[in-house]
């Protein structure tokens, strides 16, 4: 009992001590980095003028008290007539700095972070492309059949008369027709393979990374590809869309300033980026994005998987893969479109799309 009591009290003391410790210690620099990012980074950069002034060496420029007051409530300071505050206000186009809503300690922590801020050079890590689908020579059925055919023909044409007489005509007819059929069937089986783009690395004019934009920063697909909601073709975004952010984000994590510099250069030259298409459908295939996103309610990532792998042709867009839905998906009979079509004639509780015409050739090929 006494031991427990001593243990408990000791534990409590430890807990209290830890609390006090945490209470009085400054947070790690990482936490204040997050705070800076959340509250300040949208207008300020350490090393560059953005919407707000450059914060490099701000601690030596202004007194800490002034900074705490200003960050706390800059508007009050301007109204009270503080000369520096007013000068800044005029210089930066009369844009008010909104009150941060931070405690004094937090402000001190941020100032500390700014003081100790070092321009850390990230290690340049170029993306290594794995070789997918290494093509090795595989003797397929077609080659076997073709070679057999040629051998037989040679045999017939160049073989000695003795050999030819031994073998009856029907032998040639049967074997040649068999291998001929095998050859043509094998060729026709793989016929569409050449129409489907192989997965290969394609060099884009700019190393755009969906991983950074979509996965890390969680920018929605529709932010750039807005026509995918309503129209047949999902658009490639205009440069003006990129410049909404990249006007002041000039440095990335993988490639530093290299790629974004290319972007800025094109923007100044008023050109657009000529992307190499990753999804390549044949001419006779007509795909309607609007129908699939709005009416069918699919998410972009349902079809565009592997969006993070850059500069590579995307999912194997073959008909077999589309048929996974086009044959078995159920139809949304609540649409007004089906109001007069199905409710008087049929009384379906559930209708499979292939009965509704989704696996017709004419659904996509015309």
């Amino acid at each position: 009992m006494a031991f427990c009591m001593r243990f408990c009290s000791k534990a409590v003391k430890v807990i209290l001590y830890l609390l006090l410790l945490n209470g009085f210690n400054s947070y790690g620099t990482d936490d204040y980095k997050e705070l800076f990012k959340e509250n300040c980074a949208s207008c300020h950069e350490i090393g560059r003028i953005l919407t707000g002034p450059d914060l490099m060496n701000i601690n030596s420029l202004r007194t800490t008290d002034w900074l705490i007051d200003f960050i706390g409530d800059s508007k009050k300071m301007i109204e009270e007539g503080d000369p520096i505050a007013n000068q800044l206000y005029e210089e930066y186009q009369r844009i008010e700095m909104p009150p941060a809503g931070l405690s004094k300690n937090e402000i001190l922590g941020i100032l500390d972070y700014i003081e100790n801020f070092e321009v850390v050079k990230p290690v340049y890590q170029p993306y290594t492309v794995q070789e997918i689908n290494k093509t090795r020579f595989k003797p397929t059925t077609s080659l076997i059949a073709l070679s057999a055919l040629l051998l037989l023909l040679l045999l017939y044409l160049l073989g000695s008369p003795l050999l030819r007489k031994r073998l009856p005509m029907s032998f040639y007819i049967i074997t040649i027709s068999f291998f001929g059929l095998a050859f043509s069937m094998s060729v026709s089986k793989n016929r569409t393979k050449h129409l489907v783009a192989k997965e290969q690395h394609i060099a884009q004019p700019l190393e755009f990374s969906h991983k950074v934009h979509y996965t890390d920063y969680q920018i929605d697909c529709i932010y750039c590809h807005e026509k995918a909601l309503n129209y047949a073709t999902a658009n490639l975004p205009l440069l003006s869309n990129c410049m909404k952010c990249h006007d002041y984000i000039r440095e990335g994590e993988s490639f530093e300033k290299k790629e974004i510099d290319k972007l800025i250069k094109l923007w100044e030259q008023e050109k657009d980026i000529a992307w190499v298409k990753g999804y390549r459908l044949s001419e006779h295939v007509h795909f309607d994005h609007g129908l699939h996103t709005q009416t069918a309610g699919l998410k972009c990532t349902d079809c565009h998987v592997n969006i993070e792998i850059p500069s590579i042709t995307k999912t194997n867009v073959s008909m077999k893969w589309c048929l996974a839905c086009h044959e078995k998906q159920s139809v949304n009979l609540l649409l007004n479109y089906y109001k007069n079509v199905y409710d008087t004639i049929y009384n379906f509780s559930g209708l499979i799309s292939s009965l509704n015409g989704s696996s017709n050739c004419f659904c996509c090929h015309y």
């Binding site: 026709s188 190499v276 390549r280 044949s282 001419e283 007069n340 050739c361 004419f362």
Partner: protein, 992 residues
């Protein structure tokens, strides 16, 4: 029980066919050819597929059959490498720009005098298809073939792309300075400046020209149009003092008598006339039809729709009119006219005309003033003016200051012209008289050409200032009751400038053409709408604006017609001499004088010839003179001579030579190696026909026509009934289902069952649907060599059947397209299963799977399938719009292009169906009837085609299927086609 009825119907049908004398062509000896019964020299693939024998044990044949078979199988499928494709972002030029969606601009067609309002479909900022404006009540969206084909001229790589001074390229600014100084100099010297153009119907342009005249007082406007109805205007001027072409209200006429006027295809305003004419022949809504009699020498498609046709020689026209006029005045037949009366039943016709006073129209397309005076006299006696013929709201008004081209020619001969501005006229091709004036023309000091293309005049012209194509240009037009606006649908492709803009620059006018046009139009509208504010934007958006009409007054003239009658009497011809008649062919009516491949390949509806100009002669004349089909003859007249091949056409008058004329005739005749072009000076006025002698030349060539192939069996005829029979017919007696289809399984269709109904009572056979389909579906033009072999690629064909004797047969048109059979014979024979049927009733052709075996084409009983024998889509000299980078802009991006080795056929415009369905689903609406219109349906000037869901009880198609006129073509063989045809009803007994 059902089987018994069905059986009865079959027997009835067969006996019906046996009673009727239906044939499709004439062979060399003038005998009738009936496909299925007589051997036809067919070029159809059906007869060539088993040409070589597999059974011969020759090594050569063995290799042929085996080697070609397996290798061709794999090589026939073109390997399309997955090439690198680039993607650029879509740049919106406004907030409502839509990528891949269509945007319609309303404009007006300037190809002929009719000025039909258009609706131009643009995708991604470029025009892809031309349609008629649905909102315009007179045409209901219909459009003729020439307008559809004029899109080709926009993307033609042969267009002049920049301004030139002789051989040097210049900028517009430099040209303007030079030309302006030259014009001022010439004007100061008092020398004449001649502007030669087509008839200008635009108030803004006319105002501009009068302003130009104030600046340069020596300007004179001349107009050139060899096929202009000059005599009609002269007659009206002499009789009523109005130099106009009156409006003809066919919708108020119960009795129509036409002397050679092809008003449903080429005369004046064909699309509107078709609509009005058919309003009086609406058998579903009224119990009576109008009565239409045609007196003519050629066989036009108007005659094919007529209830009664008389074959006359051009010289007899005057005599008949005179007899008619005398009877109407005296109510009796005078002795000199007795033989004519017996032949043409003049008395009966005149009695009927008197019975329907004020509700008839008598017209003639002759360019002989005397004949037009007689026609005017007859109309006046019948009190037609003010009722069915309107002089107060005319179709066309002629400004008084225009000079005719003959005056210009005489002045050029005397070297009185100092400057010549040629405005969209190919001088040497349109009016060959200029060929003789070469030296005089070159002596003119200032020669400016506004033409789009390089021609003979451009070789020696001083300045080439290329004009915009009408789709890049702004303009306004006035015709009866409407002000029509034309706006640009695309930014100018090249460095051309609108001709009106050039004229403004040369006057140093402060406005540019757009501002000038808007000001002028606003002033016009203010004057016309009596002070009510009209928003210009609304007018441009709608494309036309209604102008209040003045009340039509009655006119009676008291002219002394005897001098004209005497003139006609003196021109009586003997019977041994040939008479030439130039007829305006609707297929040669193109926007420019250069060859337009769509119009060239479009077969003439009656003779089904294409690509060449042939002279038509009757079978009797051919036999008498020993002329065969395709034989060259030399025609000699007093003025010129010409060498031209012949075509034997049943129904043409004897001893007559019918030559089709039109803007494009020159370009086609050059291909023909016919050396001398016709001199139309003699034909443009005074005489309606000319005497000629012919020499039969030994050479003969194969006629380029689509008739002998792709001809389905005569059993395909949809029975035609007379009005009496139709009215007596019991409405409940529908044609029962044929026996064989009772044995085949009926299928279920969800969610729609697409079907089509074609009303043959309305179809005139013009062929606009065919050209519209070609433009919409990227169908290639194959060229004359391929057409001669039977390889024309049109998905929609107008079959023509004759009935009766060879002298004066009846003609029946049948538009044939893929019938989308529910039980299709083409599906079961495809070796790779490239043809299947969809759950919506359509027959699907999969281009990528097709290997080119053509079993489907041979098995189709309607012969509606076509095959790409060559790579027509690339490297095709006859269809440059597909092989050329600029020309490819014309292709419809919604439809794929087919390559060599694939079969294709009508798809019921599946791209339109899918697009409308997608839009309806996305907008959460239901599909209403009329939301989906196929290309053929939309462009038919007669509104004869209806497309819709046969399952939807509210659709037009469902309603029309119940009609007692509905038939299927070749239904008894059990294919269950999805297209129903409504029989034509003819007023065969003059029952009005």
């Amino acid at each position: 029980m059902e089987a018994a009825i069905a059986f009865a119907v079959i027997i009835d049908n067969e006996m019906l066919m046996k009673k009727k004398d239906i044939w499709t062509a004439l062979d060399e000896d003038g005998n009738k050819l009936i496909p299925g019964k007589s051997p036809i020299p067919s070029t159809h693939m059906r007869d060539h597929i088993f040409n070589f024998s597999l059974l011969k044990s020759d090594r050569r044949n063995f290799l042929k059959s085996v080697g070609l078979g397996s290798v061709a199988f794999s090589l026939a499928t073109a390997c399309s490498k997955s090439a690198v494709k680039k993607g650029l972002p879509f740049f919106p030029n406004s907030s409502d720009a839509k990528p891949g969606q269509e945007l319609y601009y309303k404009t007006t067609c300037p190809v002929c005098l009719a000025h039909c309002p258009l609706s131009v479909k643009t995708i991604d900022y470029r025009p892809v298809k031309i349609e008629g404006n649905n909102e315009y009540p007179k045409t209901s969206g219909g459009l003729c073939a020439s307008a559809h084909a004029s899109l080709f001229d926009l993307y033609n790589r042969e267009r002049i792309t920049k301004p030139y001074k002789g051989p040097l390229e210049k900028t517009w600014k430099e040209l303007d300075i030079e030309i302006r100084s030259k014009l001022q100099e010439l004007s100061a010297r008092g020398k004449e400046i001649a502007i030669l153009s087509d008839h200008i119907n635009s108030p803004a342009s006319l105002q501009l020209l009068s302003d130009f005249k104030t600046e340069y007082p020596a300007t004179q406007l001349y107009f050139l149009n060899p096929l202009f109805p000059d005599a009609l205007i002269q007659a009206n001027k002499k009789c009523f003092g109005k130099a106009v072409i009156p409006s003809f209200h066919f919708s108020k006429a119960r009795l129509i008598v036409s002397f050679g006027a092809d008003f449903l295809a080429s005369w004046l305003n064909p699309v509107e006339f078709t609509q009005e004419y058919l309003a009086m022949r609406d058998i579903d809504n009224s119990r009576s039809l109008s009565y239409h009699i045609q007196f003519e020498s050629q066989y036009s498609i108007t005659a094919a729709s007529a209830d009664k046709r008389f074959r006359i020689k051009p010289s007899e026209e005057g005599i008949i009119l005179r007899a008619l006029y005398d009877y109407l005045q005296t109510k009796s037949i005078l002795p000199p006219h007795k033989p004519i009366e017996e032949k043409y039943e003049i008395a009966r016709l005149a009695e009927k005309l008197l019975e329907y006073r004020g509700r008839s129209i008598v017209i003639s397309s002759s360019n002989d003033t005397a004949i037009q005076m007689l026609v005017t006299g007859i109309n006046s006696l019948l009190d037609n003016y003010g009722r069915s013929i309107d002089l107060d709201n005319p179709f066309l008004k002629i400004p008084q200051e225009n000079g005719s081209v003959n005056e210009l020619i005489s002045k050029i001969e005397k070297n009185q012209i100092a400057a010549l501005v040629c405005w969209n006229k190919d001088l040497h091709s349109d009016y060959p008289v200029f060929n003789d004036l070469q030296d005089n023309l070159e002596a003119i000091e200032l020669k400016i050409s506004f033409n789009h293309y390089r021609d003979r005049f451009s070789e020696y012209a001083d300045y080439l200032c290329p004009d915009h194509h009408y789709l890049e240009a702004w303009n306004n037009y006035v015709s009866k009751g409407y002000l029509k606006m034309a706006q640009a649908s695309i930014k100018p492709l090249f460095n051309s400038r609108q001709a009106e803009d050039s004229l403004l620059r040369w006057m140093k006018h402060p406005d540019d053409w757009y501002a000038y046009l808007i000001k002028s139009t606003q002033a016009f509208l203010q004057g016309v709408s009596k002070g009510n504010e009209v928003a210009m934007e609304e007018v441009i958006k709608k494309g036309f604006w209604e102008i209040p009409l003045t009340k039509a007054r009655q006119y009676n003239f008291k002219q002394y017609l005897d001098p004209y009658i005497q003139q006609l009497e003196s021109e009586k011809k003997g019977s041994g001499v040939f008479e030439i008649l130039l007829v305006e062919s609707p297929d040669l009516k193109s926007y420019s004088s250069k060859l337009n491949p769509f119009l060239a390949e479009k077969p003439d509806p009656v003779s089904s010839s294409s690509w060449k100009v042939y002279v038509r002669i009757s079978p009797k004349t051919a036999k008498q003179n020993g002329i065969k089909d395709g034989q060259f003859i030399r025609i000699r007249t007093a003025i010129a001579e010409i060498k031209i091949p012949c075509l034997v056409q049943a129904g043409v008058a004897d001893s007559c030579l019918i030559i089709p004329a039109g803007k494009m005739a020159g370009a086609l005749m050059e291909k023909n190696n016919s050396l001398q072009l016709f001199d139309r000076r003699a034909l443009s006025h005074q005489k309606s026909s000319m005497q000629a002698e012919i020499d039969v030349l030994p050479g003969k060539e194969k006629i380029c026509r689509t008739q002998s192939h792709h001809t389905i069996s005569v059993e395909a005829i949809v029975p035609e009934i007379s009005l009496r029979e139709y009215l007596d017919k019991d409405p409940s007696q529908k044609s029962a289902e044929p026996l064989s289809s009772l044995l085949t399984k009926k299928r279920d269709f969800h969610p729609h069952h697409w079907g089509m109904v074609i009303d043959l009572n309305r179809c005139t056979g013009c062929g606009a649907c065919s050209v519209s389909c070609q433009a919409e579906n990227n169908i290639p033009v194959v060229g004359e060599e391929e057409v001669t072999k039977g390889r024309s690629m049109a998905w929609m064909k107008i079959q023509r059947f004759y009935e009766g004797e060879t002298d004066n047969p009846l003609i029946r048109f049948l538009p044939v397209l893929c019938q989308q059979c529910d039980n299709a014979p083409c599906e079961s024979v495809c070796p790779v299963s490239a043809v299947s049927s969809s759950t919506e009733g359509l027959n699907q052709q999969n281009y990528s799977r097709c290997i080119g075996a053509r079993f489907c084409a041979t098995n189709c009983p309607y012969l509606s399938r076509t095959f790409n024998y060559k790579n027509y889509t690339y490297e095709n000299p006859h269809s440059p719009h597909m092989s050329d980078k600029t020309g490819r802009l014309m292709l419809n991006p919604e439809v794929s292009t087919r390559e060599k080795g694939t079969a294709e056929k009508c798809t019921f415009c599946i791209q339109r169906i899918q697009k409308r369905k997608a839009r309806a689903k996305q907008a959460n609406q239901s599909l209403a009837d009329g939301m989906i219109k196929t290309a053929c349906q939309q462009s038919c000037p007669a509104s004869a085609i209806y497309f819709g869901d046969m399952k939807d009880p509210s659709s037009r198609v469902y309603h029309l299927l119940q009609s007692k006129r509905a038939h299927q073509v070749l239904g008894r063989i059990g294919t269950r086609p999805s297209i129903y045809y409504l029989s034509k009803v003819r007023n065969m007994d003059m029952d009005i």
